[in-house]
């Protein structure tokens, strides 16, 4: 790009700001104050420049350097084509019918098969939608007792992972194509020549399959000296890996305390689907509200959802847990002495009092990435409060999601020692990527070279695959037979949806190769495992298990846990002025395994709304302390190991602490993931996997982060209701004139005034008669949506579900930076209160399907029109791309295809597309359709059967994915429908109702349940309310 061009492109991203400016802004405000980004709060000129232009830099910013002459040439060509396009005829299209059509197949009707996503924190039971045997949409199994149909961003995105064009496609030996049989023969011979398996090592991802565990035990019996090491960077070393598998039951918990447990934001926490559901169920009606306290070391959606949140540095949390134990009456607690602040003391006292008041009806959940003492203390606290057996259970005997766990003497460190000692003759790596993600101090890559032979089974030729001599393409879980246990222990059979696209193999194949019957397929092996468990006729039981998706009666038997072992040491917090670095798996791409999944890369991370990147996340005070600005590059170092990272501020982050997400900075991830972000594994050591003390140093340059929270700002002059004073982003308007985008009340306020959401000067209701246009009578169906603000935890599952359902394009980091991401649905995060201790409100925002839609009135070509059932329809073929509609949309939910974002070329991606939704091309506007394809399908079915569409028959993709059941959809004309009842609730309100757009999506205002004793916290950290 030329220099001139560059200046014309406005990037929406973090702009320089200082904490002083933010504080000044905050001090000057009265009443409730909401803000979306720190930049907005500081109201920097850069931010204003970004807000000034809805689509910044649109006419000028081409991806490449195009000269004026070249531009005219292109224009000439496209004009000529445009003229001709009207008269061209379609090319001949071939039809390829089956030779023998499968019996049950009805082309055009999807088929659904049950399977499970074998994830490391517990399998997610699934029901996969297949179109002519191609999986096209993944959703939770609605009948499964564990997740009841919900899913999460990871699970949704495994679909794109299956069709990833960069997956490895051949068995190779030193880069040359080979056959699987050649590998199997060589491996088998080598192992046979050792007689007892000595020198044979396996390094696997965490084994979740009971069948694989059984096969390993058979291998071990045959070759007793063969060694298996399991390593998963996000799990190894946590309580989840050490065999403790506590079952929480939040349905009966009135008070929930999270000790750095991020159980509301994603499947990275064991039991996420169940915990969110149970948490959200207790938030649906004000009559029965739970109360959540979060003590956390990095701001997460769990903490921001909490009634009371205390940000502590990671190393302070074990000591805090011990103090809490002492305060609730655990005897023999040896809490390290620490200078707690008054605020922290007050929090502790109030929390302990509240816990004691709710003994037997509360629960303390320890975090995964904490010192083991936190988990031990949580057990004791729960036990003393009498919660065991009520709000939490312990499996008896302690069986676990992971059928084999690494014994301490066969961990990765021992393997590296053996490698360095030259003891390893053959290292077989199973779906692990240790060259990339092993602790930096182990120097794994160097050690690997000392193995005499290395083989790598993996989906990609990744960092480890590059260094291994043999590489075998791994089959995706949607291509293979296996089994796995969900959080509650229920066994699901993993059944393939499609033949391996590239002839992939699984770890089952590898282990079976070494056994006396090497040709036993994974299918037979899985059947063999469950033959003794299935009662009655095996074939019937097996078919039933496949059909319903789980094996009856395999959930863990539970018992309460009364044996409290030694409480053990509690590590002292690191000195107050030392800088802590916290390592967390990325909320989107986890430990890096989904690096090449564009949907997850582009998905804005919760809290920071950062996309395509990782950053050193810090507090505003720490930013000032080190004289930094957002987007600056810093050098982080831990024990002499260094990495360069950009800086970003997260409201509520503890001071003197930095959060870095693992999983970025990959070299060989593929076309999407390679080279994004920085590699935090470079400073992570085996002894301090979750937090370490380090240092920070500013280095030259700016990184260029893509942050979406400054997008979608509305900007209007005074004439049209704006402030006209330069401080008029929609959010600022809202904060000052109280437009009531977010409406909530505390329980006490709600009881005093149940109609709070629709009363008062800024909470206008729409007026049906106040319109220039004749009103349309919606006779039969009137589609509407209701979103429960109290339930939504901002986990992003809906957005990824929408990607898959609606063929949404991925645009890339540069395009995100200039505000062109294509998500039809976004989750707006409105922070409230103090920068250091905010509360946040998560508001899913998609097209509101206004009855009086401003977009329709300005479209010059009738490309966006209203349907008789009240949908705001988008006709892509009519759209000429004026973007007037987007300009006139007060919700900023319309997305424009500036460039040809959809990939029409890559073969594997064609298989993935939803055949019922158009793949949009360049130059058209698009937006949420309320999943019109699903509405149409339901209407055709209903019309054929001569009946109205039933309530619950149309489920939108976002609704289906939501683990909190925050979204309801249906016919609002049917007064008995769930959505009509919710919309009639006195807490339901419409966003920007004063514009009289009459949106069909309504939000149910949140009611919070704060502890009265904590309502007046010290001034500096006081949330504006609650």
């Amino acid at each position: 790009m030329s220099e001139k061009m560059k200046n014309l492109v406005t990037t929406i991203g973090p702009a320089p700001m200082t904490l002083a400016a933010v504080r000044k802004e905050l001090k000057g405000s009265a009443g409730k104050r909401y803000w979306r980004s720190v930049d907005e709060l500081a109201n920097t000129p850069e931010f204003q420049a970004a807000v000034d232009r809805e689509f910044p830099g649109s006419p000028h910013s081409w991806g490449d350097d195009v000269s004026r002459r070249g531009f005219l040439k292109f224009m000439g060509a496209s004009m000529a084509l445009a003229g001709l396009a009207g008269c061209t005829k379609q090319p001949d299209e071939p039809i390829y019918p089956y030779v023998k059509q499968p019996e049950d197949l009805i082309p055009g009707k999807p088929m659904y098969f049950a399977t499970a996503h074998p994830f490391v924190t517990g399998a997610v039971p699934l029901l996969v939608k297949c179109d002519q045997f191609r999986p096209i949409k993944i959703d939770g199994n609605p009948e499964h007792p564990y997740n009841q149909g919900s899913s999460d961003p990871f699970t949704q995105a495994t679909l794109l992972d299956l069709y990833d064009p960069d997956r490895s496609q051949h068995v190779t030996y030193r880069g040359e194509n080979r056959e699987w049989a050649e590998f199997a023969q060589e491996f088998r011979q080598k192992v046979a020549s050792t007689k007892d398996g000595s020198g044979i090592y396996f390094l696997s991802e965490t084994i979740t399959s009971p069948t694989l565990a059984r096969q390993w035990k058979a291998v071990q019996a045959a070759w007793p000296k063969a060694t298996l090491v399991q390593y998963d960077p996000a799990i190894t070393g946590t309580a989840a890996a050490s065999g403790l598998n506590v079952q929480y039951d939040l349905a009966e918990a009135d008070v929930i305390v999270s000790l750095d447990a991020d159980f509301l934001s994603g499947a990275g926490f064991p039991g996420f689907h169940k915990l969110v559901r149970e948490y959200a169920d207790q938030r649906k009606t004000p009559e029965k509200l739970n109360r959540l306290y979060a003590i956390e070391s990095t701001p997460t959606t769990t903490g921001l959802k909490a009634e009371h949140r205390l940000g502590l540095r990671a190393s302070e949390i074990p000591a805090f847990a011990a103090e809490l134990a002492k305060a609730v009456g655990v005897s023999g607690v040896d809490a390290p002495s620490y200078a707690w602040t008054d605020e922290q003391k007050k929090f502790l006292v109030a929390l302990a009092k509240d816990l004691k008041a709710h003994a037997g009806k509360c629960v303390v959940i320890p975090g995964l990435y904490q010192d083991p003492s936190v988990a031990r203390y949580a057990i004791v606290i729960n036990s003393v409060l009498g919660n065991s057996g009520k709000t939490l259970f312990y499996p008896a005997p302690p069986v676990q999601v992971h059928p084999l766990y690494s014994s301490p003497d066969s961990d990765l460190k021992a393997l590296v020692a053996d490698l360095n000692a030259g003891k390893v003759d053959w290292l077989m790596i199973l779906n692990a990527n240790p060259v990339y993600n092993a602790p930096a101090d182990l120097e794994f890559a160097a050690a690997l070279e000392k193995a005499k032979m290395t083989a790598h089974l993996g989906s990609h030729v990744d960092e480890t695959g590059q260094n291994a001599q043999w590489h075998i393409p791994a089959a995706h879980f949607l291509e293979s037979w296996s089994d796995a246990r969900a959080y509650d222990g229920t066994v699901s059979i993993v059944q393939p949806m499609i033949d391996p696209l590239y002839g992939g193999k699984t770890a089952h194949h590898v282990f079976q190769t070494l056994l006396s019957e090497p040709m036993v397929s994974p299918y037979d092996a899985v059947r063999e495992t469950w033959r003794p468990v299935i009662k009655g006729d095996f074939e019937t039981g097996w078919r039933k298990a496949l059909h319903q998706g789980w094996l009856e009666g395999t959930a863990y038997p539970v018992m309460s846990y009364e044996t409290i072992g030694a409480l053990g040491e509690v590590p002292a917090p690191s000195p107050k002025d030392s800088l802590e670095i916290i390592f967390r798996p990325d909320p989107n791409i986890y430990d890096g395994r989904w690096s090449n999944v564009g949907w997850l890369q582009e998905l804005p991370k919760p809290v920071t709304n950062l996309s395509w990147d990782s950053a050193a996340i810090i507090s505003g005070a720490t930013l000032t302390k080190y004289g930094l600005e957002e987007d600056d590059i810093v050098e982080l170092s831990v024990q002499g190991r260094k990495v360069k990272a950009p800086v970003i501020v997260a409201p509520g982050h503890p001071d003197n602490s930095i959060t870095v997400y693992l999983g970025y900075g990959r070299e060989f991830a593929g076309r999407v993931g390679s080279g994004t972000g920085f590699n935090a594994y470079l400073i992570r050591t085996a002894n301090a996997p979750f937090y370490a003390v380090g240092t920070i140093k500013k280095v030259e340059g700016k990184w260029g982060l893509a942050v979406t929270k400054s997008h979608y700002q509305d900007h209007r002059p005074k004439l049209f209701g704006g402030q006209g004073n330069g401080n008029n982003s929609l959010e600022a308007d809202e904060a000052i004139s109280e437009r009531g985008i977010i409406r909530y009340a505390t329980l006490a306020e709600f009881k005093a005034n149940p109609g709070f959401a629709n009363e008062g000067p800024s909470h206008e209701k729409t007026d049906r008669d106040n319109t220039m246009f004749p009103n349309w009578e919606y006779k039969e169906n009137a589609w509407g949506m209701s979103i429960d603000m109290n339930s939504c935890t901002g986990c992003n599952a809906c957005i990824v579900g929408c990607y898959a359902e609606n063929n949404i394009a991925v645009v890339g980091k540069q395009q995100v930076r200039i505000g062109r991401n294509m998500q039809w649905l976004r989750i707006d995060t409105y922070f409230e209160g103090d920068l250091a201790a905010p509360r946040a409100h998560f508001q899913p925002m998609a097209c509101q399907h206004c009855e009086n839609a401003p977009c329709e009135q300005v479209c010059p070509v009738g490309a966006t029109v209203h349907t008789p059932e009240g949908l705001n329809a988008m006709v892509y073929n009519r759209c000429v791309g004026t973007r007037y509609c987007s300009n006139n949309c007060p919700y900023k939910v319309r997305r424009f295809n500036f460039l040809l974002y959809s990939d029409f070329e890559t073969e594997s991606l064609k298989l993935m597309r939803n055949p019922d939704v158009t793949v949009r091309s360049r130059g058209v506007m698009e937006k949420c359709t309320y999943c019109v394809q699903r509405i149409s399908a339901a209407k055709i079915e209903a019309d054929k059967e001569n009946r109205p569409v039933r309530d619950g028959e149309v489920v939108t993709a976002c609704q289906q994915a939501c683990p909190a059941s925050a979204i309801s959809f249906g016919n609002i004309n049917d007064k008995q429908s769930k959505v009509a009842k919710l919309q009639a609730d006195e807490r339901s309100y419409q966003v920007l109702a004063d514009l009289n757009t009459r949106p069909r999506t309504k939000y149910v205002a949140a009611v919070l349940n704060p502890n009265p004793e904590l309502e007046d916290a010290p001034v500096e950290h006081k949330p504006a309310k609650g």
Partner: protein, 273 residues
Amino acid sequence: MAQIFDRSSNALARASLVLTGLIVIALGVTLDQLQRSPWVTRQGQRPDQPVPFSHKHHVQGLGVQCQYCHVTVEKSSYAGIPPTKTCMNCHAQIWTNAQLLEPVRQSWATGQSLAWIKVHDLPDYVYFSHEIHVNKGIGCASCHGRVDQMPLMYAENTLQMEWCLDCHRNSAKNLRPTSEIYNMAWEKPSSDKPVWCAVGDEKSGVPTAETVNCVTKEPAENGNEMSPLLGQIGIAPSKYMKFTSQDELGRFLVVHYKIRTPNELASCEVCHR
């Protein structure tokens, strides 16, 4: 200085103005016609197929019912193109050596699909559903023409949007009893060939085909030549109404087949998503 333009130039100028206008109009008309011409729509064109399959021979000559090959027409948006297996059901026995059928045998032997050329090819942004049309009284021949008289398949209609909307705005003119969907020779009712229809017990959840019954012979009290359905539905012959024009029949069927209103049927999202 002498005048450059003679007086006669005025006439020329006027003529050229008119001519320019005419040319512009002619160009517009030409383009408009071109856009609707078979050159663009392929209406009536017979592409080269791997096998010169004759619908006329199979339907009219042999009486093969449409759904023998197009199995999913009532159940799915796609009518379904028969797999090679369907051809081989008969052609493993008859015409086993015919040269014309060589591609079929090849396909059967090698497992490679026959590559037919799509004759009725809607643009990719149009989502058409066969199932709702045949379940609501639109016969095959209404769109596909007299397939039983086509030795080689061609598109009878343009399949352009205006053609679709023509019916979606007034579906009464093409509705026929669902019992006559697959009848290629169905003719709209006239005073010579009237149609008698009756409605049974209409209930939500009962498909309309089970409650509305139409016959082409006058139902007499003694019930000579009645539709077999009549017995099931149990409608007294006296309840039957006589229709002598498509207009009357269409309006009757619109009501009793619960056809959506023109406003709903012509809404964009019905076909485009």
